[in-house]
């Protein structure tokens, strides 16, 4: 089922290449090196891209992720998600003041189109690629956000979707998947069990699993860092704090910053952007690699955090995520569930942004990194990467926020309540 699909378009993608041993492959829905089982990555023709892509050209295009089309691995125009990407980068002065920093920005993927998380970008690429490959069914293993994004985009493409999730997922994420008509399968096990099952299904059924056999293409879609750099005025930030589950996003952010420099779209900053990783204390296999200076993942068997979207105990890109962080001079932090909730409230109360639990992890980690001096008070722009929407993960907040005060319908009832305080 993995026969190479010939490509007649002029393409800036040479093929796929193993990140471990360097073996090369034709473009196909495959994600693993046949020899060493390492992950495959899209191999771009940067020399040609360098001649084609300029700031002016990018700026002349619509405000979507496709303004960076040359750096995304589809060969034709996108089949879905034409309006996806270019989410707001919000200058967060009130938050900065509370953090004691000079300049803070929030990359707000909580308002991503169409399904309110950064997964919209990766799925736009993966589903468009699946259609280029002629795959008839779209599928994924998901902790929630990917389920929503995949079901939405498959519906928009008119393709059937099969979504496999852990059985104990937040209700909002289940409803936000089923609504699109997708077949949703709850697996009695952790996300890692789901993921392993999906690998087997992908091999047997020949479906386009966005984060399995389409993973090399999918992962390229998470290069939101182009947007960040452009929104900062074609400048790289001093720091970026990124939530990690499988570790793909942080790796691709590092890659994207590197590409922008290599292509001359930004000038190299005096000091490299420090890329910091964030995971919840209840599931922090990548953070522990950084803190313990170890390059092997020690899988977390039973994740126990309210940040379910990050609860991947055996992160596929753990090795590269750590490499990205350490190589950038960044660091890592793992806030507790209480810190996560406190950070969600802080972001909401200072900036009016309701991030999901993973956003609380990211801001919670940033607070720790400021405390330990890994983010300096006088450093340049600090970007907090908010990847999902709080409306989807309300359960952990129940009981932590003030209850509405109940009164009668008369003005005197209100006066009594207001004056009582």
């Amino acid at each position: 089922m993995t026969a190479a699909v010939s490509n007649t378009n002029t393409s800036l993608v040479k093929g796929l290449k193993c990140r471990e041993c360097g073996n090369t492959y034709d473009k196909a829905p495959i994600h693993v090196c046949e020899f060493c089982f390492g992950p495959l990555e899209v191999d771009y023709d940067y020399a040609s891209i360098g001649k084609l892509l300029t700031r002016a050209k990018i700026e002349s295009r619509p405000h979507t992720m496709w303004r960076y089309a040359e750096l995304l691995p589809i060969d034709g125009p996108p089949s879905v998600g034409q309006a996806t990407g270019m989410t707001p980068l919000v200058r967060a002065d009130r938050l900065a003041k509370r953090l004691g920093l000079k300049e803070v920005w929030v990359k707000n993927d909580a308002v991503s189109f169409p399904s309110l998380s950064f997964k919209d970008r990766v799925v736009s690429v993966a589903v468009s690629k699946a259609i280029e490959f002629g795959l008839g069914t779209i599928a994924c293993a998901s902790t929630g956000n990917l389920a929503n994004a995949t079901a939405a985009q498959a519906a928009a493409a008119g393709l059937p979707a099969v979504i496999l999730i852990p059985h104990d997922l937040e209700n909002a994420k289940v409803v936000g998947t089923s609504i699109y008509g997708a077949k949703v399968v709850g697996v009695k096990g952790t996300y890692d069990d789901v993921n392993r099952l999906c690998s087997e299904i992908a091999g047997k059924y020949g479906w386009g699993f966005v984060n399995v056999n389409l993973r090399p293409f999918y992962a390229e879609g998470s290069k939101s860092a182009y947007e960040v750099a452009e929104q900062l005025g074609w400048k790289l930030p001093a720091h970026i704090v990124v939530p990690m589950a499988g570790g793909s996003l942080v790796t691709k952010i590092g890659k994207a910053f590197g590409e922008l420099e290599k292509l001359g779209l930004v000038s190299a900053p005096a000091r490299k952007t420090r890329i910091h990783g964030a995971q919840a204390a209840g599931c922090a296999p990548i953070i522990d690699m950084v803190l313990e200076n170890r390059d092997q993942v020690k899988p977390v068997k039973t994740p126990t955090s309210i940040a379910k979207s990050l609860a991947i105990g055996n992160p596929a890109d753990g090795f590269y995520a750590r490499q990205t962080i350490v190589g950038s001079g960044g660091w890592a932090a793992k806030p507790t569930d209480d810190e996560i909730v406190a950070a969600m409230r802080l972001l909401a109360e200072t900036e009016g942004i309701f991030a999901e639990t993973a956003g609380g992890v990211t801001l919670g980690a940033a607070l720790r990194l400021i405390e330990t001096g890994h983010i300096g008070k006088d450093d340049g722009p600090v970007v907090i990467s908010v990847t999902g929407n709080g409306m989807k993960t309300q359960d952990p907040l129940v009981g932590t926020l003030p209850e509405p005060q109940m009164i009668g319908p008369r003005l005197s009832d209100f006066d009594d309540m207001w004056n009582r305080k």
Binding site: E34, C36, R196, E200, V212, R215, K301, N314
Partner: protein
């Protein structure tokens, strides 16, 4: 003899067999025994230093050997061992 489940990409080396048997007191010894039966299989599982490759998982009776004693994990005759490419998955009971 322990039973070893072979993932699809390695079956070219085991004459298409999904399941093979081998003897050895540890996972490491089992891999060595596999190599004598099916030459070429060890370099696919282990790197030049002899360690299990970064993207290969080995399960002993459903337990990732990283939670046990890695290559030193003891093996009994009744054990079922699965070799699973970390990100490729593969058959596993």
């Amino acid at each position: 003899m322990a039973t070893i489940r072979i993932p699809t990409p390695l079956r070219k080396l085991t004459q298409g067999k999904e399941e093979v048997t081998a003897s050895g007191a540890t996972i490491g010894a089992l891999i060595a025994s596999l190599e004598t039966q099916y030459p070429g299989i060890k370099e696919r599982i282990c790197d030049d230093a002899g360690q299990v490759r970064r993207f290969v998982n080995i399960f002993a009776n459903d337990e990732d050997i990283r939670f046990l004693k890695n290559l030193e994990t003891p093996v009994k005759d009744s054990d079922e061992i699965s070799i699973v490419p970390a990100i490729a998955g593969g058959d596993r009971q």
